[in-house]
Homo-oligomer: 161 residues x 2
DNA sequence: CTTATTGCAAACGGTTTGCAGGATA
DNA sequence: TATCCTGCAAACCGTTTGCAATAAG
């Protein structure tokens, strides 16, 4: 659950500081972005946005999500399918991803122990950890009873060999 | 150090089983691929290959590396710059990547504890772990004395915000 | 009224593909 | 000789950009 008030505020501040303008499109994209589940692709987002404002084009969505990333309210993620996906920044975040190759669903997880080890690995090589990305791919052990598969909200295209 | 004999063998078997033909190009690309450091991009590889056979074009390298991946002798990796990079399959492999944002150098690491935890995380969500990808990004704590920076063998284009 | 933003379409970079000519088994 | 492979160029896909029209401050 992203903290929409906080993100709205952070975005407003960023826009003011950079002399950017508030537009109807940006408002709609912001709302849609927060309402959409995590890991939306530009296409998915565009489709959703157009339900509220059908004149919006790809370019605007691309530019707006780049803006969101710059403003620190969205993370850019690129999984194996090469498409960029976005997710709202969380407050006490940090999570990584567990992707099901059976149905395409993307779970989120967080593991302190793994986080610690990462920092140690970086140190051991003379680096200071600044970011990381950790995706786990798995196969459903009980696909028949998989709720995500049934719901069809998975990102099927993500499944690879 | 990839085991070239083993990989050559695995490739030969795959080609025979699928009625594929051995060509001079594939031979050169295979040799160059193994000799090149890890994580080569298609462009880098093409440049190297052309030093031995200047008629080779992009398409052949692309197709050949796809073939290598299918044959199980190369891994496809996509880091944040969106380009596909390849590395020879190792025998007792498994390693992950630590990327320096200062110089672009890609280190490899392996951590059993992290490996174990990952499997547990997958299990906890009802999945069986089949693959993962773990990239750590760091900044050099002593860039002046960084040997990789001096050598300039880093992948500069990889460095991002 | 000035400056930023939009929507379109064209450009772009990396990857894939159709095809005619050339090489392999 | 039948089939696969190559090299080229064109197609492709996701993303970025130039531009004239439009909207925000």
């Amino acid at each position: 659950m992203p903290d929409s008030a906080l993100l709205a505020d952070r975005l407003a501040t960023f826009m003011r500081d950079n002399g950017l303008k508030q537009t109807r499109q940006r408002q709609v994209i912001f709302d849609t972005f927060l309402a959409s589940g995590d890991h939306v692709s530009i296409d998915e987002l565009l489709t959703l946005v157009q339900q509220h404002m059908d004149s919006v084009g790809y370019a605007t969505v691309y530019r707006t999500l780049k803006l969101f990333a710059d403003a620190g309210i969205a993370h850019e993620r690129r999984f194996q399918d090469g498409q960029m996906r976005y997710e709202p920044v969380e407050v006490g975040e940090h999570h990584d991803h567990l992707i099901c190759r059976t149905c395409g669903h993307i779970f989120e997880f967080e593991d302190d122990l793994i986080e610690q080890r990462q920092a140690q690995v970086a140190e051991a090589h003379g680096l200071t950890l600044v970011a990381h990305r950790h995706d786990i791919y798995g196969e459903c052990r009980a696909p028949e009873t998989c709720e995500y598969r049934a719901r069809g909200d998975g990102v099927g295209a993500l499944v690879h060999g």
